[in-house]
């Protein structure tokens, strides 16, 4: 094959690509099977986003499948469980539909939301400036802190300043890639698809540390007590449920659901069940708004 042929192939590829570029927004909302909405639940008009969900009978929620205690697929029980999952169930219950959980890994959750694959994303997603431009967030439902995890017998890593030359693992598409680049520019970043791979890498010694939200790290410690948190907190990470920007009714609905959840005691129960019993921490439902959350993140990122 001559050089010209290769150029021709590239040209064809470009042609295909430009054709594919046009497919940016696709409407969602294909109603599938119908099921009668439960009683005692506020009914919405079909044709509105919430009404459509009720007609379908299911709401699709993207959660993590491998991040205890927020969302993980328990093979023994065969279901997805966790703090995020319980929140999702609360939303579904209030809407009178069944929750359908799908796996949302860090680099696909926003595209999934934007193209309608998922109605809500509840997957330890931090509210920050870049994401706010792409999607809408509910009021923060949890504030995690960015921390560093390492093996107990490692004496060299004492905090984020000691990461120079060390290898640190975090997930592709998470906020920590940027955070670590800022706070530990000399560290060697290893980016993987999911935190379970980070845990594996730390355990088998191929990275020196893992950095992400403290609750995710706590989930790792629960699975392996030779690990410990070290150093000061790097960032504040307010979690919010992700919703498509145009879907303002769903946003309002979710915010109302969360408000009720936080005040009627379900929040405390879930917190205790998933986090408190392991860390001894007290539940502190956040009361800040989305904008305040964005500010918080900006300040703490330094």
């Amino acid at each position: 094959m001559k050089t010209t042929r290769w150029l021709a192939i590239l040209a064809l590829a470009l042609g295909l690509v430009l054709a594919g570029c046009g497919e940016d927004d696709e409407e969602s909302g294909g109603a599938q099977e119908e099921s009668t909405p439960a009683a005692e639940v506020e009914q919405f008009e079909p044709g509105t986003p919430l009404g459509d969900i009720q007609q379908e009978g299911t709401i699709t929620i993207g959660v993590k499948y491998d991040v205890p205690p927020f969302g993980f697929n328990n093979p023994q029980s065969g279901t997805v469980e966790g703090f995020d999952v319980d929140l999702g169930r609360a939303i579904a219950e209030r809407l009178g539909v069944e929750p359908e959980f799908i796996e949302a890994i860090s680099d696909n959750r926003i595209p999934f939301l934007q193209d309608g694959t998922a109605d809500v994303i509840l997957s330890t997603m931090t509210i920050n400036e870049e994401r706010v431009e792409q999607i809408a967030f509910s009021d923060p439902y949890f504030i995690a802190k960015g921390r560093i995890l390492h093996k107990k017998d490692d004496t060299e890593i004492t905090g984020v300043d000691a990461l120079a030359g060390k290898s640190v693992c975090t997930a592709l598409g998470s906020t920590y890639e940027a955070t670590l680049k800022e706070q530990a520019p000399e560290a060697k970043l290893k980016l993987v698809d999911s935190y379970s791979e980070c845990l594996e890498s730390l355990q088998n010694g191929s990275v020196d540390a893992v950095s992400t939200d403290d609750v995710i790290l706590t989930g790792m410690i629960i699975q392996d007590d030779t690990l410990e948190l070290v150093g000061e907190e790097l960032t504040q990470e307010p979690y919010g449920a992700g919703i498509r920007t145009e879907n303002t009714e769903l946003l309002e609905f979710v915010n109302e659901t969360f408000e009720a959840y936080k005040t009627d005691g379900r929040y405390d129960t879930a917190f205790e069940k998933w986090i408190g019993q392991y860390t001894g921490a007290q539940p502190e439902p956040p009361t800040i708004s989305v904008d305040e959350a964005v500010e918080l993140v900006k300040q703490s990122a330094g």
Binding site: M1, R5, A8, I9, L12, A13, G20, E23, E26, E27, S28, G30, Q32, Y65, D66, P68, F72, N73, N74, P75, Q76, S77, I102, E103, I105, D107, N108, P111, D115, G116, T117, D193, S196, L199, E200, I222, Q223
Partner: protein, 262 residues
Amino acid sequence: MTFAVFEWLNSGNNLSFILEGFAINLEIALVAILLALVAGLALALLRLSRNRLVSTVAGLWVDLFRNLPLLLLILFLFLWIPQGWRNTWENTIPGWAPEAFQSGLMLAGLSGLVLYNSAVLAEIMRAGILSLPRGQAEAASALGLGYRQSMLHVILPQGLRRMVPATVSQLITLNKDTTLVSIIAITEVMRRARTVTATSGNPFTGGGVDAPILEVFIFVGLLFIAVNFALSRLSKRLEVRERRRSGSVPKPQVRGLEEQVA
């Protein structure tokens, strides 16, 4: 290493969990090869078209997709396929299809596999057809058969039969390639093996016997080797039969090797 190697296989429903996943891989491979054969045949015919423009464009398409990493195609489709298509998939997939196929993610996985393999198979078919002695085509036209008729009744049946061994070889490769869809979160055997290693022996997730990664993946490897080895034996037998039937090996012995490499 414990004395009882592979004892995790007996604990809980680990074994059935993994075997079910393996069945999914085989199912994906089967569906993909069937679709790829159809698409590949179409591409091959376009390639052989007497219309220069059509054959050139088809040729470029085939060359493009044969030279791209399959994983790149799969990951791209995973992130790019719009919701409308995913919805259509989930709506049209029949209820009796296995659970893994119900998810719209399978659309990305299958499309990637089919896009790539149809290009590869198109080349195999084209080689098979072109390897027919010229005499066949000439005889057909001498007998008064038009292009389409000679294709349908003379060229294609013989040419396609010659590529059966190569197609079985490609199925072996396809079997191996199905593991790549684990990277887009389809719960086939690789994902399930990962779950077993991550959750067994772990008090937080239910306990049970510890399943070392080395053992679990050697087991998974053996599953693939068993199936693929059987397929390769089948391919050799088909090749021998073909040789006996047509009296010659249509291509040099090392042909088709490149298509077999993952």
